[in-house]
């Protein structure tokens, strides 16, 4: 029975739909729940009424909190979490390495520098976001320029170029913090670098939505090619695919997502590393299912963590700190329990 099921032509569709649908339902629940909870509680039915624009008769305060305070923040966490998670999953396949995260190709360091520089120069939010995005892409172009050769670029070369580019921009970030005014600018820059969606607004959502969704769409369209790419260049070429071209397409999509995410939320680490592993343990390594599930799971994960960040203490715990504090031990436990199951002794 397992046998016929496994080879039936409709199989991929049948297997893909339940996990994706289940995760979408979970995400919808998380969104509604996250909008409802906080210092100023709004009852769940009211939240649903407001979100479906049937909020007449409810207090203006309720509507304000839901539509203009919490919803943009939740939407921003949705975009950033989902984008970083799917980017991480795609990179882990492209580099055939479970420890790869979006930070590895240097784009987040580039984007951090852009943002820090804008804060140092006292420029406004629009410039900050633009500079972060712009320098993120500059980092990708640098990686391109360093590795460009005739024929196929070895994966190791790309990783090295990414690490070098990342270190270079990290040094520039350090320089920026060093010269920043310690009473005024420095705290702002450090807090921004920690990663947060606390300053969310519809403006930021609008800025992030373009690059994050465009990059995500490209990755989703490539989802089956990602399987082939993950076999390694030699085998992919033997099957008749051009691995170099596919990989650069993938890297560009990832850079768009990361630059967009860092621009609006700073450096939120660990999401791109941890969430793909959780998703893979649930649905297996086939990227046709894995990539969409990873996006939805990353969104739900970051919304949950951000809700914790703003509700557990009176002050705000920076999001990037929480993702690392919770992500690292959870990752450790799951890896111990599942080692050798998903990866071939890699």
């Amino acid at each position: 029975m397992a046998r016929d099921d496994a080879v039936a032509p409709e199989r991929s569709l049948r297997l893909a739909v339940p996990p994706v649908a289940a995760m979408a339902v979970v995400l919808a629940g998380v969104v509604i729940g996250a909008v409802a909870v906080g210092r100023f509680g709004v009852p769940l039915p009211d939240v649903v009424r407001i979100l479906t624009s049937r909020g007449e008769g409810l207090s203006a305060a309720d509507q304000n909190v839901v539509l203009y305070v919490r919803l943009p923040r939740v939407l921003l966490a949705l975009l950033v979490g989902g984008g970083l998670a799917i980017a991480g999953a795609a990179l882990q396949a492209a580099f055939r390495n479970p420890l790869v995260s979006p930070e590895i190709i240097g784009v987040s360091s580039g984007a951090s520098f852009g943002g820090a520089l804008a804060l140092l120069l006292g420029l406004g939010t629009t410039v900050l976001v633009g500079a972060a995005f712009g320098f993120g892409l500059v980092a990708l172009v640098l990686v391109f320029a360093v590795t460009i050769t005739r024929g196929i670029t070895p994966v190791l070369m790309i990783v090295l170029a990414g690490v070098v580019t990342g270190s270079f921009f990290s040094a520039l970030v350090s320089l920026t913090t060093y010269v920043a005014d310690p009473y005024d600018q420095l705290p702002t820059i450090v807090f921004w670098l920690l990663g947060s969606v606390a300053s969310a607004s519809y403006g930021k959502v609008l800025i992030a939505v373009g690059p994050v969704l465009a990059g995500t769409l490209v990755l989703l369209l490539l989802r089956w090619r990602v399987n082939v790419l993950s076999l390694g260049d030699e085998e992919a070429a033997a099957l008749g695919m051009r691995p170099g071209r596919t990989r650069w397409l993938l890297l560009t999509a990832v850079a768009l997502i990361v630059a967009g995410a860092v621009a609006v939320s700073g450096v939120v680490s660990w999401v791109g590393l941890v969430v793909p592993h959780f998703a893979r343990m649930w649905v297996g390594p086939d990227h046709r299912v894995l990539l969409p599930v990873t996006f939805l799971m990353g969104s739900a994960y970051l919304i949950l963590i951000d809700t914790l960040a703003r509700t557990v203490t009176a002050g705000e715990i920076p999001l990037g700190v929480l993702t690392a504090l919770l992500g690292a031990p959870a990752f450790f436990v799951v890896l111990r329990r599942h080692r050798n199951r998903i990866w071939d002794d890699a």
């Binding site: 397992a2 046998r3 099921d5 496994a6 080879v7 039936a8 032509p9 409709e10 199989r11 991929s12 396949a93 055939r96 390495n97 369209l221 490539l222 989802r223 089956w224 090619r225 399987n227 082939v228 993950s230 076999l231 390694g232 030699e234 085998e235 992919a236 070429a237 033997a238 099957l239 008749g240 695919m241 596919t246 297996g284 390594p285 086939d286 046709r288 199951r341 998903i342 990866w343 071939d344 002794d345 890699a346």
Partner: protein, 240 residues
């Protein structure tokens, strides 16, 4: 089907030069030579993965190349591995459709691994993994199959199964080109052999004529009569 005319490849010095042979549909050609003689390079030229610096390669369809075994990173199921053979037939921004799944199923059936379809590739034995790689090549729909040392690392039973399978694929009008270190395999399987004795000494001919003791002595620089492994061949046995 597959024709090489005056093919030569050099890194710094010529690895081989002026190699001319053809693999018609329904036949098997085996390439033999010592380590480092350029067997894999010749195969990659034939499959279109390398461009030779001299000569020309003609293929009636794109070739399916089965590289030497190496580890895969993710534990894909067998059916998903075989499906990846369809990559030439699926547009860049698409996923495999009904016809691709049907082709993968047919290929698994032909190779005799349909019962493994749902098993993770990484949990298979080396012999089974090699069968999956061949099914993946068959699934691509090509008529030209190029295999780099397909029997390496397999036990006698699996070697027999592999040789039988390759013979069947050739009998079904595929053109099969492979490298091997085992003259026995070439004897059993190949219609034509290509011997890489040196850069300017490449011999092509029927297996029965070329695979004699004196040629093998010359090819590997040994005395095959005194070679320790030759004892088992005193009583000729079929391989499968």
């Amino acid at each position: 089907m597959l024709e090489l005319a005056g093919v030569g490849y050099r890194y710094t010095r010529w690895l081989f030069r002026d190699v001319t042979f053809s693999v018609p549909a329904g036949t098997v050609t085996a390439v033999l030579g010592p380590n480092g003689s350029g067997k894999t390079t010749l195969l990659r030229c034939a499959a279109g993965l390398l461009s030779p610096q001299a000569g020309a390669v003609r293929r009636s369809t794109p070739a399916a190349f089965v590289p030497q075994a190496h580890q895969s990173t993710f534990a894909y199921r067998v059916v998903d591995m075989v499906l990846m053979g369809r990559v030439r037939n699926v547009p860049t921004f698409a996923t495999p459709g009904r016809r691709d799944h049907a082709a993968a199923r047919d290929a698994m059936e032909r190779v005799g691994i349909l019962d493994l379809a749902g098993t993770p590739f990484s949990s298979l034995s080396g012999g089974q993994q090699q069968l999956v790689r061949i099914a993946r090549a068959v699934a691509s729909g090509t008529r030209i199959l190029v295999l780099d040392e397909p029997a390496t690392g397999l036990d006698l039973r699996n070697q027999g199964r592999l040789l039988t399978l390759l013979r069947e694929l050739a009998d079904a009008q595929m053109a099969v080109l492979l490298t091997t270190h085992q003259p026995d395999h070439a004897r059993y399987l190949a219609d034509t052999v290509v011997l890489l004795l040196g850069p300017d000494d490449v011999r092509v001919g029927p297996a029965t004529r070329l695979l004699q003791d004196d040629t093998l002595n010359e090819l590997y620089g040994i005395d095959i009569g005194a070679w320790p492994g030759s004892a088992h061949r005193t009583a000729e046995r079929p391989l499968s």
